[in-house]
Symmetry: C2
Subunit: 158 residues, 2 copies
């Protein structure tokens, strides 16, 4: 099967969206076993990791970076706020926009996972060497910046 | 917000799984609008694109490449078989393994989308130039090959 796939002049093996989806699913899936073993849901981990060390963020930005649908993020934030991990805050500049920030409790909780996440990432990147690893991340960052929909940053009223 | 995110020494901006997930979601999402406008579901597109021009494939391989959960693939294949897009075939070597192949009808249907998918991919990769685009795909292919779970290829009985 493996060999046949490589021999064939085969669309999906060379199709960027398919490669991105598979790489994302495999790599995230590996670390999600660590996340759930520590008592977090995958969505909680994504939200806390996104807010950690960051400015308060709109729910739209949070949805985009965590790749969780916005209504799901909104419900999730209710539960995480009840646990004391995050807080909704008013935006001084525009009161229609709700911002979300991580609490000291949330920071303490996620700080147990971040070093493990960095270790896992290093193991994934190790076979490629520093330069190729940096090239990969830099290209991915550019793709995200070029394709991020301009309308979803800061226009979400929750 | 954008600026604040870049200024902060901020975990998630430099975390490979987060970059992969966002790039994957943004790029796939763009093309999925084309897919649904042509009357396909996203899952149908993924299955047909994976089988197109390919050897018959186990349901486990199909699940891995399409990043759709295996029970979902199984139900989806029932519907796609009813539409005449795919066929289940017996594996000569091991009768416990069901293989799936695309039909001529399925090939005809998907061949309307593949050129549009290639065009979209080219537009995504264009800003990076040929070499950086090839580097990206080659690194992603290696990640997939290194992390693909060895047990999921060909062991699915459906």
């Amino acid at each position: 099967m493996q060999k046949a796939r490589r021999d064939a002049a085969h669309f999906v093996d060379d199709y960027l969206p398919a490669l991105l989806a598979q790489a994302s699913q495999l790599i995230s899936g590996e670390f999600h076993r660590v996340v759930t073993a520590h008592g977090f849901s995958v969505s909680e981990w994504r939200v806390l990791a996104t807010l950690a060390g960051n400015e308060p963020m709109s729910i739209g930005s949070l949805a985009q970076i965590t790749t969780i649908k916005q209504p799901t993020v909104t419900r999730l934030l209710d539960r995480m706020e009840a646990k004391g991990y995050v807080q909704r805050v008013e935006n001084d500049g525009d009161r229609r926009i709700t911002l979300v920030r991580i609490t000291p409790t949330g920071t303490r909780m996620v700080s147990r996972l971040i070093p493990l996440a960095r270790e896992h990432e290093q193991r994934v990147l190790e076979p490629f060497g520093l330069e190729r690893a940096e090239d990969l991340k830099s290209t991915l960052r550019s793709i995200v910046e070029l394709h991020r929909s301009s309308g979803s940053d800061g226009l979400d009223e929750d």
